[in-house]
């Protein structure tokens, strides 16, 4: 993806359906091994989870100075990625909404390999008031 200046993420200006970054990379055996070791699962097949396709797509377009807390993930698996092959990723803003006065942003990324095989679709539900979550975890703070 061509280098472009990052936009400051303004939640109110985000549009549902808006495209985020598109990019490609080669999955290496080292990346797969590193992932498997990190989760202590020698048979894990989707290191793409830790690559964080959707978050990467967001961070290629926006400078998110607020941050967010990952409130949830949805992942669908279609085909395991193969080391040595290119992975193409497209991201978009799938949704945004308020719940209990807290703003949520849903980002989504779809990954396809160089042979056109659909690999994975990942959604992340970010709560964009991370300090609120901190208060909930540490009410005395």
């Amino acid at each position: 993806m061509a280098e472009q200046p990052l936009k400051i993420l303004d939640y109110d200006k985000l549009e549902i359906g808006e495209e985020l970054g598109s990019y490609e990379y080669v999955l290496t055996q080292e990346m797969l091994d590193n992932y498997r070791q990190s989760i202590d699962d020698p048979d894990a097949a989707f290191p793409t989870l830790a690559v964080k396709h959707d978050g990467t797509a967001l961070n290629m377009v926006y400078n998110d100075t607020t941050g967010g807390v990952n409130a949830g993930n949805e992942v669908e698996f279609f085909n395991p990625p193969a080391p040595g092959k290119k992975i193409f990723v497209k991201g978009r803003i799938a949704d945004k909404y308020l719940r209990r006065d807290k703003p949520y942003l849903v980002i989504e990324a779809t990954a396809v390999d160089e042979d056109g095989n659909l690999l994975e679709r990942l959604k992340t539900y970010q709560m964009k008031k991370p300090d609120e979550v901190g208060k909930k975890w540490h009410p005395q703070a």
Partner: protein
């Protein structure tokens, strides 16, 4: 591979994982963009969340739940038709032990076969629920 005669209430294999600072950082190192966040930078976690520690990415729990699901359905099924959907309820951090459990709650016919729905939960060593949701696979 699981058969289509999976019973409602069947339990999937539980998976227990020790989460350490090393495993949290190693998971973060799999990213293709080198970026500081609440998982790898204690100061940032303190600034944004008020915590005194970094948090494990919720995606680690997704990976743990995926392992449980794969062990039940088999990789031939789960890696091609599987899904995991979790809400994160409490932080997971260095020193925690996360256990994933799940049981089959429903099934329905879909074009490709029978979709099995598994209710998933993650608990820490204090038996606090850290995540909950569902997983699915088509057999």
């Amino acid at each position: 591979m699981a058969s289509t005669s999976i019973e409602i209430g069947a339990e999937i294999p539980s998976v227990t994982k020790s989460v350490t600072t090393a495993s949290i950082l190693q998971f973060e190192s799999c990213a293709i963009i080198d970026r500081e966040n609440i998982h790898n930078n204690e100061e940032l976690a303190k600034e944004r969340l008020g915590t005194t520690y970094t948090l494990a990415s919720g995606r680690m729990s997704i990976a743990f739940a995926s392992e449980s699901m794969r062990k039940f359905f088999g990789s031939d099924v789960f890696h091609h038709t599987g899904s995991v959907n979790l809400k994160f309820l409490r932080p997971v951090k260095n020193g925690d032990t996360v256990t994933v459990t799940g049981k089959v709650t429903s099934q329905r016919q879909v074009d490709q076969g029978t979709e099995i729905v598994v209710e998933l939960e993650c608990h820490n060593q204090k038996q606090d629920r850290t995540a909950a949701g569902i997983g699915t696979a088509i057999v």
